[in-house]
Symmetry: C2
Subunit: 615 residues, 2 copies
Amino acid sequence: MHILRNLLIGSPLPTGDTKETRLSKVQALAAFSPDALSSIAYANQEIFLALVAAGSAGLSMSFPIGVAITALLVLVALSYYQTIQAYPSGGGSYIVARTNLGKTAGLTAASALLVGYTLTAAVSLTAGVAAIASSFPILWNYQTELALFFLGVITLINLRGARETGTLMGFPVYFFLASFLGMLVFGFITSFITRSTLPGTALLSPTRPLTAIITLQAFAAGCTALTGIEAISNGVPAFKTPEVKNAGKTLLVMALLMAILFIGSIGLTQYLRIIPQGQETILSALARRILGSNMLYVIVQVSSMLILVVAANTSYSGFPRLAAILARDQFLPNQFIQLGDRLVYSNGIFLLASATALLIILFGGDSHALVPLFAVGVFLAFTLSQAGMVIHWQRAKGHHWPLKLAINAFGAAATGVATLIIAISRFTEGAWISLLVIPLLVLGFLRIEDHYKTTARQIALKGNAKSAVRSAATSSDMRVIVPVSGVHRGVAEALQVAYLLTSRVKAAYVEIDPDQTEALVRQWAKKLDGVPLEVIPSPYRSLISPLLDFLDFEDASNRDGQLAAVLLPDLVPAKWWHYLLHNNSARLIKNALLHRRRHQGYQRVIIDVPFHLSD
Amino acid sequence: MHILRNLLIGSPLPTGDTKETRLSKVQALAAFSPDALSSIAYANQEIFLALVAAGSAGLSMSFPIGVAITALLVLVALSYYQTIQAYPSGGGSYIVARTNLGKTAGLTAASALLVGYTLTAAVSLTAGVAAIASSFPILWNYQTELALFFLGVITLINLRGARETGTLMGFPVYFFLASFLGMLVFGFITSFITRSTLPGTALLSPTRPLTAIITLQAFAAGCTALTGIEAISNGVPAFKTPEVKNAGKTLLVMALLMAILFIGSIGLTQYLRIIPQGQETILSALARRILGSNMLYVIVQVSSMLILVVAANTSYSGFPRLAAILARDQFLPNQFIQLGDRLVYSNGIFLLASATALLIILFGGDSHALVPLFAVGVFLAFTLSQAGMVIHWQRAKGHHWPLKLAINAFGAAATGVATLIIAISRFTEGAWISLLVIPLLVLGFLRIEDHYKTTARQIALKGNAKSAVRSAATSSDMRVIVPVSGVHRGVAEALQVAYLLTSRVKAAYVEIDPDQTEALVRQWAKKLDGVPLEVIPSPYRSLISPLLDFLDFEDASNRDGQLAAVLLPDLVPAKWWHYLLHNNSARLIKNALLHRRRHQGYQRVIIDVPFHLSD
């Protein structure tokens, strides 16, 4: 086990090794942009699928919709540019919303983000599989398996730790930018040259009329293009100094690239009247039309797949870090704060990987089925974050604050409207799941916080405990009860320990099979004569409840205020499968005692005397 | 939970309620014969399926094969009649083989029986579903689900206890005998009347030639007709006095009924040249031909289904009882001896139900796929039991013993040859699975016995332990180490208990996050001043191994021969889900200590001081 773990994940790192390596702008673009850049893949696909039912008339709406989404993108980018200025130590939506709008808004943003991170991973991986399956159609049969395989690879890489992940990102991002932008440029040039010889694509006849609903659904679906745009604002401290300036510039470059990729591909798709033949993504059909079914086409598809897989990685930095922040604020179990062997938040990584795997399996590895769940959470977080920024400017004021406030307010309003459009138009397709899960998570956070607060109150030490502790002195006259199952060495050793502690020792035998009692009592008299033995009847053959009743009875008849202990002879087998061959009564009794509340004021101490069996 | 359990299974019964109700011959026939009588259903089906490939020529072999199997049946019945005389207290194959042939043979028989019981349940249930699905073809789509449903019902009935099961059996058995025998008689009469008007059934052309292999395979498949014949010999003590005489008579009546049902149905099937149309069992096709597709036909099918389901019940009396006997002989975990709430061997019932469910699921609820695994185990047990009887007569002698020996020897030889035929001719179809599992089970039995013997040796108390135990006196100068996670009431109460036991108390804090140590030490000095506190560094952030190293270090520096204990402050949450919110370090430490062998001769006692959190 250990060897395998070290091979896959690497040997443990000492705590002292935690130090940040700052990123240059080029590195930071690679680290923060994969999710944002790659989201054009599924956004395009979803717009196409939403409009195709309305035929050629429907598809002619894709460019206008693309323009509207790009406008939204510019607005959101500007909004987050301001967040970077205002929260140079990292302004995740949770922090911005919580600081400015209060706990519930903050937790709603956090919950929306956690859901969003999980869906980003699931959608990116399944869209990545779709990209490569468009080139090699046989792979469509293994959608789920491939997506889970990529998920496993990323999970392992992330469990190995941050340093390794950083270096792996650069290649896919710049490879994708080069191949995809190159293809778009080539496509534009050839389109304009061959404009006259454009093959007269047959008009696609609609199966339903183009309605406002369909247009809104296409807009809602396309909004997924914006996912990932907030990543840089969370990670400002990772930039080289001057952090704020560098982060801001990188954000603007990223947004520009997103806009070019999105509007360029959607424009060309409409201009060339691309319609996929058979099972194929719309971007694959576009690339095939521009480049032909050759090696160049395969390269573009591979680069799409790679950036989508790497995009899933964004979730692996965001989710565990947010979970740790929430745990530190006592909204999630404190296990999420622990750094694993490789100084990463292993528990957060495990949770994300499990939830993503579950989504992939439940939705059969189909990104189109997952997308309706997706955008609503992301846009909810956008909206809360922008709204928080509005309050921030109102409070903080500063240079040009009314203008900044206006930009964020406009952003909040636009993303808020988009959230509503997404929630309503895609409600029945899956948005309801996110709308159900997000508030449930918030309720969960609040209950967890409540538990931690209650616990802290209960275990708080008021005043100095020293005197109480030490005054106990060493003058115990404690009572010890030793449950026994027979006459053997384990029992003898346990009794020996009991008599070391006190002279008030009593053995207790629960009589499950009355036929065996006589032999036991005879044995006892022969080998352990003098040690008091109580035989407890058990007409219903159960072990625990007659024993507990006996303990209560003993407490009631010895109201001496002394410590009462149960001392258990515990045979410990040498191999795991040997446990199956024993009744494990010691374990059952321990569990029962541990969960038994104090009775008549007696605190029950449990003493375990292990007797190790050799093989 | 409790209410649901009481509703389904009934409230617990006190141990005193164990008493046997003796069965009359009529009741006993109902109790012991369902498996034997119902096995004609799948035996007929398997003979037909084995021969149909060889066309009409093949099918014309079914009657001769049926006669051969009936002859074997008579022989085996006579053999078991003798077992009843020789082992009036119940002569299961395990006991007969073990007593006369030794441990390995006994365990082989036991293992073959356990496999056989499981397969009886699986095959009977799936064949029962096939019987009813032949009438209502839509049910073919739910073969597995229906078989599992029936399995669940029988399991519940058996968990309720023996009294209830006994009364339920009579109806299906006599209902089946009446309806099926009635149909056969009616069939014979009408066949002889309408002999001249017999529709000229087209000859079925063969897909392969009729070879000796096919004939042997058909014979092997048909041998499943004998399964269940041994049931009465296991249960002699359940009969009213004179037990032996009554059991013997009942066995002969049962064997006669088996022979009539088997030879009658197979003869009519061949005479009427029955070939099922579509998905239908051969017996269903026979019934449909004789009676027409009417209510009478449905009644016959329902009665077949009922007796098959009840036949599965035979396994529920045999399997748990044999498991308990094996456990008493230390070949199976002693949990199988425990009587459950309702005075039945619940653990054996659970194991049988799980194994049967697994078989049904793995083989898709198809009895035809299960049968090849089946006969080999049953016939192996027959053979070992008969062989054991040969030795028995040789030793015991008595009235006419050479004749009795000859009968059993002939029976052993015949079933032995049948075992070989079955094992070889159906090896690749599934018999290999049984032939693999049976010896593996025997190996498992022997390893379990070995473990119990080794354990008994290790824990045996030699001589009188009294002096050693009492001389310990109450003069302990024990050392107690208290692992702490912070400064709180749980820790304070634990320290208080520690000082009650000894003055040599030391608290130990494992420093997982060095940033928190300073605050802890300050708190400690303020609230628990005077209690020694060790801060144990943990560069790799693990809790257990630095703590264990510290304990070893303490032992090494205190070679005082005194008792060493670890005392754990244990916060016990009020609700199960609260456990997820705590690190459960006390549980982890307890587990690690329990499995740690003695170090440098120090026995490590574990003391648990629970601190109960309220909600």
